[in-house]
């Protein structure tokens, strides 16, 4: 039972038993993303593994039909005590049958239809006794078409949800776009899901070790597979450096994805990365101050805190004065190119010297995104347990995934937890040892309230 109703926070000296359950990988992605290409690779390549593939539509897979089973994507609601969740009934039947067979599989891959919500598939492995006893949900892998992601993210709620749910994301068809576009896409994906591991691929070509048995739902491995998760988040996404002459300038923006954006212009020793890093924490603090609201035509003042630009659907101009000449950093909440942002001086457009990208703390997408919380210190176990239980019960529909490593007061080991919607569980993991005791959590979902989550968690500090 990997998801008990009540987490066990107490110290348990016995080592966890060896888990010999068969790992299951759930593969999601839009039609044309390269999902089928990946399945065909898995079925044809000599990888020495026996992998059963469960598909909703029999595609062009002509190879080893013995290993391909048809499914029906039947989703139903299941009352599981006090909570209600949706599961895949067809999977319970098909996998139940499959696991009775004497010829064991090394792994099972479930390919979902293009528009599928990964939630019911994932929950199936936690609410059915039989599934839980024999199978272990390993990871949700989402294939994204680099050439068409914008189109999908713009119109399909499901595309965002598939990215939000993923443990591993294959940014496929990288040959269709250039490097700067790929970096931008990765930023966009990070905005939806800061905890997933992203791999760039062409023709869905990837070492199977990156997608099978990666431990996305393994409590002790969930957060270790992704170093990006541990990176701090910043209130700005890009710092562009400039060498500006004395005099009048304008910051010119075109309409972009959001109605407001926070910006800050601050002096630097030199227009390079080292100078940006030098004053980084100072600028992070400045960004957390209350912003000055400004509309098109209003002046902004370099060095005077953060300005919240009210953006309209026409080009906007914000004048500012440089006095004396020098090096400056323009700290923007979003990527400047999303707004066609330009700094114009008396002699025309002034190009940025350097552009440095940070992991943004803001939710890119107004609807789906992730909230990471990283704070040092010990947590009161009972209070945390109550907080997470109530949170997931009340907001679990909108919280797709949650993961965390917690330092429980009095517990020498790290306490790790993870959940899918309202279903969650946790366990004590390895000792902290010399590592500093700290708490790292990530919530991925819809309409998440960063401040409420952060303050709720902080209230659990011992």
């Amino acid at each position: 039972m990997s998801i008990p109703a009540v987490p066990r926070i107490a110290y348990e000296p016995e080592p966890p038993p060896v888990d010999d359950r068969v790992p299951v990988t759930v593969l999601t992605g839009f039609l044309g993303s390269g999902k089928t290409t990946l399945v065909n690779r898995i079925l044809t390549e000599q990888h020495g593994k026996r992998i059963a593939v469960i598909e909703n539509e029999f595609g062009e897979v002509g190879v080893d039909q013995e290993l391909v089973i048809g499914a029906e994507e039947e989703i139903f609601e299941m009352n599981n005590g006090c909570i209600c969740c949706t599961v895949r009934g067809d999977l319970i039947r098909i996998l139940g049958n499959l696991m009775k067979r004497r010829d064991r599989f090394d792994a099972i891959l479930i390919e979902t239809t293009g528009l599928a919500d990964p939630g019911p598939v994932a929950q199936t492995f936690f609410v059915d006794d039989e599934m839980q006893a024999r199978l272990r949900l390993d990871a949700i892998v989402t294939v994204v078409d680099a050439g068409h992601i914008d189109q999908h993210l713009g119109v399909q709620r499901e595309a965002k949800e598939q990215i939000a749910f993923a443990d591993v994301i294959l940014l496929n068809k990288t040959d269709l776009v250039d490097e700067s576009r790929l970096t931008a896409l990765e930023g966009q994906i990070r905005g939806l899901n800061s905890a997933a591991r992203i791999h760039r691929t062409q023709n869905a070509s990837i070492d199977l070790d990156h997608i099978l048995d990666v431990g996305g739902f393994d409590l002790s491995r969930a957060l270790e597979v992704d170093p990006a998760f541990m990176e701090p988040e910043y209130p700005f996404e890009v710092v562009s450096t400039y060498e500006l002459p004395m005099g009048h300038h304008e910051m010119v923006l075109q309409p972009g994805p959001d109605p407001t954006m926070n910006v800050l212009i601050g002096a630097l020793a030199a227009p390079d990365r080292a100078s940006v890093e030098e004053r980084l924490m100072e600028r992070v603090l400045a960004f957390s101050d209350e912003a000055f609201w400004v509309g098109s035509g209003d002046a902004i003042t370099p060095g005077r805190g953060v300005h919240r630009l009210a953006l309209t659907d026409t080009p906007m101009r914000f004048p500012f004065v440089v006095e004396p000449a020098g090096s400056f950093g323009l700290y923007t909440e979003h990527r400047p190119e999303e707004y066609g942002l330009e700094i114009v001086g008396s002699d025309g457009v002034i190009p940025a010297t350097e552009s440095i990208t940070y992991t943004p703390a803001h939710v890119h997408d107004r609807e789906i995104g992730s909230v990471g919380i990283a704070i040092p210190g010990d947590i009161d176990g009972a209070r945390f347990q109550e907080w997470i239980r109530v949170l997931l019960r009340e907001r679990g529909t909108d919280i797709f995934r949650s993961k965390g490593i917690i330092a429980i007061k009095g517990e020498p080991r790290r306490w790790v937890f993870q959940g899918v919607h309202m279903l969650w569980g946790g366990t004590a993991d390895r000792p902290w040892g010399t590592e500093p005791r700290r708490n790292s959590l990530v919530f991925i979902g819809r309409n998440l309230d960063r401040e409420a989550l952060t303050s709720g968690f902080k209230a659990c500090l011992a």
Binding site: E72, E74, G89, N97
Partner: protein, 344 residues
Amino acid sequence: MTQTLRARRATTLRETWVAQLPDHVEAVAISPDGSRLAAAAVSGPIHLFDAGTGERIAEMAGHTMGTTTLAWRPDGRILTSGGQDGTVRQWDGVSGAAVAALEAGGPWVAAVAWSGDGKVLATAAGRELRTWTPEGGSVAEWTSPASSISDLGWKPGSGILAASGYGGITLMRPGGDKSPRVFEWKGSVLVLAWSPDGRFIATGDQDSTVHFWYAQRGTDLQMWGYETKVRELSWDPTSRYLATGGGQEVVVWDCSGKGPKDSTPRMLKAHESFVSALAWQHSGPMLTSGGYDGLLVLWSPSRSRKPASQVELDGVAACLAWSPDDRWVLAGTSMGTILRLDLA
């Protein structure tokens, strides 16, 4: 003295023969005259045996990716099977020769059921319910609007068919002109069982409940408190008792009088893990239960809550069936073993 002897004779099970299938036994079916039996392995193969000797008569390939269900046509001349390849196959009940293959209309066949008179075969695959003449002609087709179909059952002695799935049960008369009657319930029904008198339809459900539906009125009773999903149901021949699995104990509901509402069921304890199969005699008082603990237990629930006899099997007791004369039980295990056990 005679009385004692008789009681003792009916309380032991003796192994008559053992045979082996290539994989976990997924379905067994004894021919209506009790002379032959078929057993299907989860990986696909279906074997036909002489019920008296255990001699293997035929080995059929069965279904790609697995055979899921077996049923004899009431005349015993045809064995019908369904599988994960979405087909229903007809086999000669004597030689095992393949006779016909029917496209059931979905990715896997969940159930096949012959009407009591042998005139109509009902098959369920995905959301498709199809009914066929013995020659393979179509009688009627129905697509479940709500979900894929999990089980089928003909009301005893009638032309009324019940189909279960997520959302409840649908009753219909295939080929008739009346629209189907729906017994709605917001849950997933895994198995259904008509009481022999046709008064009740019992269902075992994914969310660890059992439902009793009064077939006439369409009202239901819900039984809570099971440990796990309920896939094991068996009525006694008098329609008084329903035995259910869904946990370590065999739970026996008494439907006499006012019915099982507010009643306390009998709990039969012998298994050390979940019950995996149940079978009541066709006309006698004995019940057999199988468990994931590999135990096969013989009960006489109306007389005692203690097991009358126990047999240890080599694996999970996956399938159980009584012979038509109620003198022996057929058991199929997760190790692919099939055994005939005679009452002695």
